[in-house]
């Protein structure tokens, strides 16, 4: 029950006046309902009830007032929100239309500002597309968020034994699958010309576990232990299908040959398929069950070469999966403790690069994003400058609008809308630019990288990033001018202050910022260029010029090939070519992007565990290797044809290995064995140290073995020759064909080109930073020019007076130049300070770079100063040419 009055307390009369200011729906409703009740009471009283009874009766009839009021209030509230939203949207659209009109009117301003933003955004969006591709992009397919990579220790691929064991002894996963990559020989039909293609062996369940979609045909699901006839099926990639078969839809069921083995194509992957090994773009995927037949190696003898991906069961956390894998590994270790000594297993992110490269790629990405971010900051400073200038020309308009009562917030909002519109158009153009640039980028990388044109294609993540950039740039270049323009310094004007003075200093600050950022970027780019130059000048311990590399992979022919005999013939025939001075084989081309490591045990030493054996780099080579590369043998001899399969095992080691393995005494004649093997090798020669992994690296202990005593199916034929590449290529193909008639023609490149891959990060850095630096310089020049022009224009009268008082033209030019120059000098000093900080870090990773490199710093300053002078020259001359009489009348 309720008493008559507590539902509708009387409203003090004064509250009604509040309605002059804004409507009060709650009070209105209360009034409306009270009117209803009172009317009812009056009617009842008129019929003869006492007022008290009438009131009680009215309340009884009316029912629950608060419930009705609640219902109606809710209705009104919904409506009000809807109206407010409409009003807000309409006001925004009005602002946008107003801004668009304004921007159309000053087309020059709009164009320059848009181009500035577009350049900055294009550079950033492109860079981020690359970062996205190598760090964030998930692999396509259903429920990819449940996929994890499985690594041995930090980042090593698994062995087949480990993978099979994990598959059998864990329950946390729906599937654990592996991929092993390599090249194979392919024939479109048995007997047709052979070609070399990229292939991946995949374990059972690979396609469903990764959620691979098919464009045509079906995936295969062959047991890892199936025999060769049951597993002779293949899936080809969409790219290979288009390139090699011109998208022939009758491809499914086609019989082809892979490493001389007949195989049937059963399906084509969807275009978005990506290997689980980042950067590897296989043309063909075959069941790993085929590997023994194709290579002659049993699965358990492959070593750690399976890039492993696991699909977590629904609801299982990665940490729980990892714990279970650890438990399973511990069980496995009990079966063979020597093999799994010091081995752990861990789970990694499936997105982007594998764990092996992740740390390096992350650091590189952050660094490059920071650098390219500076380009955007410079562009923003430019636009802020333009917006400030524009606001200055609209001072009267804004002043009038403020005077007639436009709120400051309203004007700020309007100016920000204009900035947002500018940023939006600029970002859209920039994004379009990024779409184009990301398609061109893979072509600029060496073909070894093996990236297709769509590799860096921007996706939704990049689009969102660009959207965020748009908002950030709006705030960066729009907020300060908007706040500033909406608060005219009226008192200052009344006191007769120079209204331009404050503005000039604000714009001066923008120039200082631009110069600082620009100097920083240029200096860092120069450091990369310098490192690149030093790497080219460095003596790697061998002579690469004049050497031609031929990658001969007899593994493409299947397991039946007698590799040592075939290679012997190839070397013999190549050596007898007229232009060839010497020919040899090497398993690894030094500085060619790959390397091999092993652990050795000096004869007579006993070890507590495998991990205690010294790690060394190694290579497998034939006689004449050191002669071909011109690496001097300091003592002893190099390999000889007499070092045969059955003669005593010998090795050549470099100086560092000699010093490290036998610190006391002479290494020559000493013997050692490989960890886990009993064969003893005698050191017969000591070679000079040579670079192996990175140019200019600190010397690494390296051991060389004789090919005849450690044969392999893939070797690089190296020749020292005076003939140009084009002429010798066909001769070399003939030589290879004579010994291995069915082998696809192998790639023939100069050793210098082969080595370019090791310098790829530095070259990429130098290229990108050079581009950023150039862009920054152009933008900064535009900024300096803009500010100098504005400064001259706003000081017309002062300049006129100076001219009238006898200042020479040279003096006036100097005055304007000095104004720009002073700011650029201040900015450059700040920029150099920052550079030295960054360079100290870079000096540790870049070869041949010092934290304070006077040549670099000086050249950057000179460049910056030259640009500043050139950019300010036109305004300076304009000031000098001004007619004093008209100038004084101005303003």
């Amino acid at each position: 029950m309720h008493t008559p009055h507590d539902d509708t307390p009387a409203e003090p009369k004064w509250r009604r006046y509040l309605r002059f200011f804004r409507p009060n729906p709650a009070a209105d409703l209360q009034d409306e309902l009270r009117d209803h009740l009172e009317s009812m009471v009056e009617e009842l009283v008129a019929r003869g009830m006492t007022p008290e009874a009438a009131r009680a009766e009215a309340h009884r009839r009316f029912g629950d007032v608060s419930r009705i009021r609640g219902e109606v209030e809710r209705l009104d509230e919904t409506q009000l929100t809807r109206e407010r939203r409409t009003v807000a949207l309409e006001s925004f659209l009005h602002d946008v239309r107003y801004a668009a009109r304004g921007l159309r009117r000053s087309i020059g301003f709009t164009l320059v500002a848009t181009i500035s933003i577009a350049l900055g955004v294009a550079a950033n969006a492109t860079m981020f597309s690359v970062v996205n591709a190598v760090l964030f992009r998930p692999i396509p397919g259903a429920h990819a968020e449940r996929l994890v990579r499985v690594y041995e220790n930090h980042h090593s691929p698994l062995t087949w034994t480990q993978l099979a064991w994990f598959r059998a002894h864990t329950t946390a996963f729906d599937g654990i699958v592996g991929e092993r990559y390599g090249a194979m020989g392919f024939r479109g039909a048995p007997g047709a010309e052979a070609e070399r293609i990229q292939t991946s062996y995949v374990t059972q369940g690979f396609f469903p576990a990764l959620g691979v979609r098919m464009a045509l045909g079906r995936a295969f699901d062959v047991s890892d232990s199936a025999d060769a006839s049951a597993s002779s099926v293949a899936v080809i990639s969409h790219r290979f299908w288009e390139r090699r078969f011109a998208g022939d839809s009758s491809i499914v069921g086609r019989r082809v040959a892979l490493s001389e083995h007949p195989i049937t194509i059963v399906g084509v992957t969807a275009p978005d398929f990506r290997s689980s090994v980042l950067g590897w773009t296989p043309d063909m995927l075959v069941p790993i069950a085929m590997a023994p037949a194709l290579t002659g190696t049993r699965l358990q003898d492959f070593g750690g070469s399976l890039y492993t991906t696991a699909r977590l069961r629904v609801g299982v956390a990665p940490s729980a999966g990892e714990a279970e894998l650890r438990g399973a590994l511990a069980q496995l270790a009990r079966t063979d403790s020597a093999a799994y000594d010091r081995t752990t297993v861990r789970i990694g992110d499936v997105r982007g690069v594998n764990a092996e490269q992740r740390a390096g790629v992350t650091i590189g990405s952050v660094f490059l994003m920071a650098m390219v971010g500076m380009v955007l900051l410079i562009a923003c400073a430019n636009v802020a400058n333009l917006v400030l200038g524009r606001a200055a020309t609209r001072r009267t308009e804004l002043g009038v609008r403020l005077a007639i009562g436009a709120s400051r917030g309203r004007i700020v909002r309007q100016m920000l809308t204009e900035s947002l519109l500018l940023a939006f158009v600029g970002s859209a153009v920039g994004f379009a630019g990024a779409l184009l640039l990301t398609r061109l980028l893979p072509a600029a990388l060496p073909p070894q990288a093996g990236l297709d044109a769509s590799y860096f294609q921007p996706d939704l993540t990049v689009a969102l990033f660009t959207g965020a950039l748009c908002l950030v740039t709006t705030v960066l270049f729009g907020l300060m001018p908007a706040l500033h323009a909406s608060s005219p310094q009226l008192t200052g004007l009344l006191k007769g202050d120079d209204p331009h003075a404050r503005r000039r200093s604000r714009r001066g600050a923008l120039v200082v910022t631009q110069a600082a950022l620009c100097v920083l970027l240029l200096a860092v780019a120069s450091l990369f260029l310098r490192s690149l130059a030093s790497s080219r000048d460095v003596d790697p311990g061998f002579r690469a010029d004049g050497v031609v590399d031929v990658d001969v992979d007899l593994g493409l022919l299947g397991p039946g090939v007698k590799a040592p005999a075939v290679f012997a013939n190839i070397v013999r025939d190549a050596s007898s070519l007229p232009s060839v001075q010497s020919a040899s084989l090497a398993a690894v081309v030094p500085l060619g992007g790959s390397n091999m490591e092993t652990r050795v045990v000096q004869d007579g030493m006993t070890l507590r565990s495998r991990g205690d054996a010294p790690a060394v780099y190694f290579n497998v080579v034939t006689p004449k290797f050191f002669a071909t590369l011109r690496t001097p043998i300091l003592r002893g001899r190099e390999f000889l044809p007499t070092d045969g399969e059955s003669s005593p095992h010998v090795a050549v080691i470099n100086e560092t290995a000699a010093r490290r393995l036998w610190p006391a005494g002479d290494a020559l004649g000493k013997r050692f064995r490989l960890s886990g093997d009993n064969t003893l090798y005698e050191v017969v020669g000591i070679s000079r140290d040579a670079n192996y992994v990175m140019p200019g690296e600190s010397p690494k202990a390296t051991v060389y073995f004789a090919f005849s005593q450690m044969p392999r199916s893939e070797m690089t034929l190296q020749l020292r020759t005076s003939a140009p590449l084009a002429t010798i290529r066909s001769a070399l193909w003939s030589v290879v064909r004579a010994s291995a008639p069915t082998l696809p023609p192998p790639p023939v490149v100069t050793m210098t080109d082969d080595m370019s891959i090791t310098l790829l990060p530095v070259r990429l850095g130098a290229g990108l930073l050079g581009a950023f630096g150039g862009l920054a310089l152009v933008l900064a020049a535009a900024g300096i020019y803009g500010v100098a022009s504005y400064s001259v224009a706003s000081r017309t009268r002062e300049i006129g007076i100076r001219a009238a008082l006898g200042a020479t033209r040279a003096r006036l030019v100097r005055m304007v130049l000095w104004e720009s120059g002073r700011r650029v000098v201040i900015g450059s000093i700040i920029g150099l300070g920052a550079t030295i900080g960054i360079a100290a870090g870079l000096a540790r990773v870049l070869y041949g770079v010092e934290a304070v490199d006077p040549v670099v710093l000086l050249s950057v300053i000179v460049t910056m100063a030259a640009v500043a002078v050139i950019a300010s020259l036109a305004p300076a001359v304009r000031a000098a040419n001004a007619d004093p009489v008209t100038s004084i009348r101005a303003d």
């Binding site: 209105d28 409306e32 009117d35 009317s39 009617e43 029912g63 109606v72 409506q79």
Partner: protein, 114 residues
């Protein structure tokens, strides 16, 4: 609550209110009284339905409200029909008549066939 209430479906309530307002602006109380008097008390508009309906139609633009002062010097909210409301009234009157007509036919047919 009145036990003589005729069950009023939402659309009917709206059409009654619109019709009432077609004679001139009224406040909520007057609308309810007019309906009650015209139907000799057969239809009693419940306040709990009346006010939400009024506010809903106001948002829809069928009726507009203005504030006035009643004879007893109280603030009172008067509703009047808008052009949009007049159209709605016409449309709904027609469809109501069609419905009554159709229901009548069915009822008579049943009586005839029984």
């Amino acid at each position: 609550m009145s036990d003589r209430d005729v069950d009023l479906i939402q659309g009917t309530l709206n059409v009654l209110i619109l019709k009432t307002l077609s004679w001139g602006p009224r406040n909520g109380y007057a609308i309810a009284r007019w309906v009650r008097d015209t139907t000799a008390g057969d239809i009693e508009l419940e306040e709990g339905a009346l006010y939400p309906a009024l506010h809903r139609m106001e948002h829809r633009g069928w009726i507009a409200a203005e504030w006035g002062v009643s004879e007893n010097n109280r603030r009172a909210k008067y509703y009047r029909l808008t052009t949009l409301g007049r159209k709605a009234l016409r449309a709904r009157t027609q469809s109501w008549e069609r419905l009554v007509d159709a229901v009548g036919k069915v009822l008579h047919a049943q009586a005839g066939n029984a």
